[in-house]
């Protein structure tokens, strides 16, 4: 019993170490703030050029927020594993004896924090650029949605990022692997955000069932990732 | 008749692409077969 508790504590400690390490690297490198966020914003502006109508933009704003998030997520995932790939850091982690579930959860957590920042900026952009409305109730739904959706995205991203880490041509492969898998997140998060914005007069209450889908997705891939990550790491 | 082209087309697509795939498998296995002698193949 105490052995199991010890293993659990070790996973948690590893996860915290890895998450703090990744976020510190991000704070020093500023790839998210200096490259990914500007990219996401320019995508939002480009959408406005392409759709060219205030009414249409207001209607599709929730979908555009999450599309921009997905595209930017791909860069954040690539960055998260490029960091490990250099200097053979992933090999060292692998041989350090740290529990792989901890490594997975740590990297996913760091990814999730970065994605949350991204979503917040994009939602603000949608309110400013696309005139999306956000009520107090909608805000609660939106925050919960963002947490569940980024959790799912981070789990999938870490799993597939780890899968293709260190392989040649992974930059182009990652979108092909990740995008089909995260389609449920795009669907669920877009519908929930539609309710939160009140797009087309959809009530806030209609968004909560979609949150269930997002939560199930995040938990499923979180658990699977924690289990499967080890077999991807050990060589 | 317009439908005829679609129907014939679907049969051509089906068996044509399978034939192309067979050709590619045969080509690849022949190339590999030059290096691996008959005795080393587990199925012979």
């Amino acid at each position: 019993m105490s052995e199991r508790r010890h293993a659990f504590a070790s996973v948690r400690a590893t996860a915290r170490l890895i998450a703090v390490k990744d976020l510190r690297i991000e704070r020093r490198g500023r790839v998210l703030t200096n490259q990914v966020l500007p990219f996401a914003l320019i995508v939002m502006v480009m959408f406005a050029f392409a759709l060219d109508s205030d009414a249409v933009l207001e209607r599709v704003a929730p979908g555009l927020v999450w599309l921009a998030t997905l595209f930017s997520t791909l860069f954040v995932i690539a960055r998260s594993f490029a960091v490990e790939g250099s200097d053979g850091a992933l090999d060292q982690l692998r041989t350090s004896g740290a529990p792989s579930a901890g490594i997975f959860l740590g990297k996913a957590l760091a990814l999730m924090v970065q994605l949350l920042v991204l979503v917040v900026v994009l939602v603000v952009a949608a309110v400013v650029l696309y005139r999306a409305d956000l009520s107090w109730q909608g805000g609660v739904l939106l925050v919960t949605t963002a947490v569940a959706a980024t959790g799912g995205l981070a789990a999938v991203g870490t799993l597939y990022g780890g899968l293709s880490a260190g392989a040649k041509g992974r930059e182009t492969l990652l979108p092909l692997l990740v995008l089909p898998v995260v389609a449920p997140v795009l669907i669920g998060a877009t519908r929930a955000t539609e309710s939160a914005f009140g797009t087309n007069g959809i009530a806030v209450g209609e968004g909560w069932p979609w949150l269930g889908l997002l939560a199930v997705f995040a938990v499923l891939f979180g658990v699977t990732g924690a289990i499967a990550f080890g077999s991807l790491l050990d060589e | 008749m317009d439908d005829l082209g679609f129907i014939l087309g679907s049969y051509i697509v089906t068996f044509g692409s399978i034939a192309l795939y067979v050709a590619s498998v045969v080509k690849r296995s022949r190339r590999a077969g030059r290096v691996v002698s008959r005795e080393q193949r587990p199925w012979t």
Binding site: S164, I187, L213, L220 | F6, Y11, V13, V36, R41
Partner: protein, 247 residues
């Protein structure tokens, strides 16, 4: 070494017999499907596409199931036999081929029957996702690394697909029912079928099954050969390096 002009590398007497039966079956299927069987009451002549489309789609699903099962066999088996990995890879390749064909023939059929190439029906959309997922799977198999590295990566990916596909299907269905009125699926697919039509469909399933087995057997052996060639290449390079050191 073997003569370079060798023609039948991956065949045995079994696969040769199977191949002959399959080719005969394909001929019979084309004759039955295109000429002998009658036109459908609802679908008209377009029902002829079904004899190639439906078996292709079914066998593609079967192929992906085989990939999943043999991937699990590779991961669980203590011996970690690469044969399981090669069967998974060969089956996925044939599955992608069959599914690609089915998507094309299906949209041709849809154009005739529904008047549109594509509809956002849950089954169709899930099938498209399945296709893309296994294209990605094949790309991961081509990433390089050692054979066991390839096997482990792709096996995990194949098992993840088992998790992914129901989620995608469920969410698309949820999305679809809220955003579209009646789905087109079901319309035009009449259950009561003429005896000859049913037989043609049945023959199609048999022919595609035979084709599947033939293709997977050959592809799996070709993969084994390719793996051996890579191993030999490595051995040759090591030998050359050792010879250098001695000098």
């Amino acid at each position: 070494m073997t003569p370079t002009s060798e023609r039948n590398v991956t065949g045995t007497s079994f696969t040769r017999g199977l191949g002959i039966v399959t080719v005969l079956g394909i001929g019979l299927l084309i004759v039955l499907g295109l000429f002998v069987s009658p036109a459908d009451v609802n679908q008209g002549e377009s029902v002829r596409i079904m004899y190639a489309h439906v078996p292709g789609a079914w066998l593609a699903y079967l192929a992906f199931i085989v990939t999943g099962v043999s991937s699990a066999a590779y991961l669980w088996n203590r011996t970690r036999s690469l044969t399981w990995d090669r069967i998974a890879g060969a089956s996925a390749e044939v599955g992608v081929l069959f599914m690609g064909i089915s998507l094309v023939t299906g949209s041709l059929w849809g154009r005739i029957t529904w008047g549109t190439y594509w509809t956002w029906d849950a089954r169709l959309t899930t099938t498209a996702f399945l296709f893309v997922t296994y294209v990605g799977y094949l790309a991961v198999r081509g990433l390089g690394g050692s054979h066991h590295q390839r096997a482990r990566r792709s096996a995990v990916l194949a098992l993840l697909a088992v998790l992914e596909i129901p989620l995608v299907h469920f969410s698309v269905r949820l999305w679809n029912t809220l955003h579209q009125e009646a789905s087109v699926a079901g319309r035009g697919t009449d259950v009561t079928m003429d005896g000859l039509m049913l037989f043609s469909l049945f023959l199609g399933v048999i022919v595609f099954t035979l084709m599947y087995v033939w293709l997977v057997l050959h592809r799996q052996r070709a993969l084994a050969l390719q793996d051996m060639v890579e191993d030999f290449g490595l051995d040759a390079a090591l030998a050359a390096r050792r010879a250098e050191e001695v000098v």
